[in-house]
């Protein structure tokens, strides 16, 4: 049976929702998966709710439709939870990994109380982490690290290498900061699973 892992990313324009899926497509490929990532743009403005998709498989990926039943949902911004039904269609034993300033139990109580118990909810204050390290509220690299730490689908070393390469052309300092952010989020999430 072929493996197909489907991930949906939610956030707002400017936070790097599309890049998050893209970085994981590159890192996943390095780990031996066939990968596909693509965005669903809205009005292409900073601040609008944005969705992007990632598929990982052991065979070439031909499905290009949107992801209705994800294994994982990654939320890059706490304010889209509620206005956007981020949990829609999530599979049994799935996982929601959210940038949220409060503990997971509170997020579940506030927004996902009717969610099946087999679905794990994990939180991380990625905005704070990004503000501390990058000085800007761009949460994609932190959430990419959190995704890898929570799911163990991608090794930390592979992810760090990919993130460094991704940001290298914008300067080594920025690349190193993003790598630091990935590692911090990965380790914090690893401890929460």
């Amino acid at each position: 049976m072929a493996i197909l892992i489907e991930v949906r990313f939610h956030g707002r324009g400017g936070q790097g929702v599309v890049t998050a899926a893209d970085i994981l497509a590159v890192a996943g490929f390095k780990e031996g998966y066939w990968t596909l990532s693509f965005p669903m743009f809205g009005a292409e403005k900073r601040g609008t709710p944005v969705v992007s998709y990632l598929r990982l498989s052991d065979r070439p990926i031909v499905e290009r439709d949107e992801i209705y039943n994800p294994n994982y949902v990654v939320v890059l911004d706490p304010t889209v939870i509620g206005p956007v039904r981020v949990e829609a269609g999530i599979k049994q034993n799935g996982m929601i990994i959210a940038n949220y300033p409060k503990p997971a139990e509170e997020l579940r109580k506030e927004h996902f109380s009717s969610l099946n118990g087999s679905i794990k909810v994990l939180t991380l204050n990625a905005t704070k982490m990004a503000m501390e390290i990058l000085g800007r509220p761009i949460t994609n690299t932190a959430m990419v690290g959190a995704f890898a730490g929570a799911t163990k689908l991608i090794k930390l070393s592979t992810l760090k290498e990919t993130v460094f390469e991704w940001f290298e052309k914008k300067g080594e300092e920025l690349a190193n900061k993003n790598v630091e952010l990935v590692e911090k989020a990965y380790k914090e999430m690893e401890g929460k699973v």
Binding site: A21, D22, V26, F29, L36, E44, V62, E63, R64, D65
Partner: protein, 393 residues
């Protein structure tokens, strides 16, 4: 060859670079913009040798510049879509009549109004009668591979026509996926430098697309139709050569799966083909005799190929990504005219995914099942439409 995860627009821009174009000219329009942005960056970095990158004031200007450049014997490239392609159309009809092998990528996008930036095939379908070769690709590897083949076909002396590589906007252009990137040596061995039979120079002035009064206009049109028909053979040969060179066989003017004993043929074009193929495979496992026909070349239309594979089928299901308003979907229109008198199958055509509406697996399965089980009438239907009320304002 290196396998890398790249975006669709990079995959085509990189392939264009390997084809050593002499003039690139374009005007930005989403979702095409990043294709020419990547080429502009390559140009600025000095990676495009003996090439001029010209920014135009509009798509009309871009196409006009390329007409001039191509007439001088330059290998040319542009990319556009949607309103940009429609704005180019006046020039492109001229390019075809002047027999200029301009290669362009169309990042397929819907047409206004209402304004939409998302994907369907309405833009390139509007150009189907312009004597421009149109090939629709399924994924970014096929898009990457199609660029050198497009030049080789378009520049063949038997053909000499513009060529559109149609790739779905966003679905392909903005998707990251693994692509085996070609090497320069391989492309150089496959694609000779462009050396047209006539070249416009300042020393030897010529008029392209001269005045043709009624006593000779028709003959020029006959010649154009002949070139399109000859292109079929050239395309088959080039596709075959490509398969031998790279080991990637994308098929001929059409590509088929499970058609040997199929009772129902499913016809699709572009990025939806992959998912349609999966649904067909699933239905085969359920014992349903379904087959897939992927149309790769829409112009020239694969009339003989379709007659051959559709000979014994009972039902034909066509997934349309455009509408010929006042009639039906353009693919089914052409398919039916090709099959008239050659096949008695019932033809069901479904317009899906207009203006970027998603085409989920269940919708594809539902359309095919409804046709097989006779739950819908023959002919044209819109599928995946919501409940709505028509109001003045």
């Amino acid at each position: 060859m290196v396998r890398k995860v790249v975006r669709g627009f990079y995959a085509v821009a990189y392939a264009v670079k390997l084809c050593r174009p002499s003039v690139i000219c374009a005007y930005p329009i989403t979702p095409q913009t990043e294709i020419v942005e990547n080429l502009a960056a390559m140009y600025a970095n000095g990676e495009l040798e003996n090439c001029q990158y010209i920014t135009a004031e509009s798509e009309f200007g871009a196409a006009s510049i390329l007409v001039g450049a191509s007439a001088t014997g330059a290998r040319t490239f542009t990319a556009t879509c949607s309103q940009g392609l429609i704005l180019m159309s006046e020039v492109l009809w001229n390019a075809a009549g002047m027999r200029l092998p301009i290669v362009m990528v169309i990042a397929n996008r819907s047409l206004s109004a209402p304004l939409s930036i998302w994907n369907d095939h309405q833009d390139s379908m509007a150009m189907r009668d312009a004597c421009i070769i149109q090939v629709y690709v399924e994924n970014n590897q096929e898009a990457h591979d199609m660029i050198p083949q497009a030049y080789k076909i378009a520049e063949n002396k038997e053909v000499m026509l513009p060529f559109m590589v149609c790739m779905d906007g966003y679905k392909l252009t903005h998707a990251y996926e693994p692509v085996d990137l070609l090497e320069q040596g391989m492309v150089d061995s496959f694609l000779p430098p462009y050396n047209p039979p006539i070249k416009l120079t300042t020393k030897d002035p010529l008029t392209f697309g001269c005045y043709a009064p009624p006593h000779c206009y028709m003959e020029f049109r006959v010649v154009m139709q002949r070139a399109m028909m000859r292109a079929k053979k050239v395309m088959e040969e080039v596709f075959k050569e490509w398969a031998e060179l790279t080991g990637r066989n994308w098929g001929g003017l059409i590509a088929t799966d499970y058609m040997d004993d199929a009772e129902t043929a499913v016809v699709a074009m572009g990025s939806v083909v992959g998912l349609v193929r999966e649904v067909v495979e699933e239905m085969r496992k359920d014992g349903k005799k379904v087959g897939l026909v992927k149309i790769r070349s829409f112009r020239p239309f694969p009339t003989e190929e379709l007659r051959k594979v559709m000979k014994d089928v009972e039902n034909i299901v066509v997934f349309e990504r455009a509408v010929s308003f006042g009639h039906e979907g353009p693919v089914a229109i052409d398919l039916k005219s090709a099959l008239f008198g050659h096949c008695n199958a019932k033809v069901y055509s479904f317009a899906v995914g207009l203006g970027g509406r998603d085409i989920p697996r269940d919708l594809i399965r539902k359309c095919i099942n409804n046709a097989i089980e006779g739950k819908v009438d023959e002919g044209f239907h819109f599928e995946g439409v919501k409940e709505f009320e028509e109001v003045i304002i």
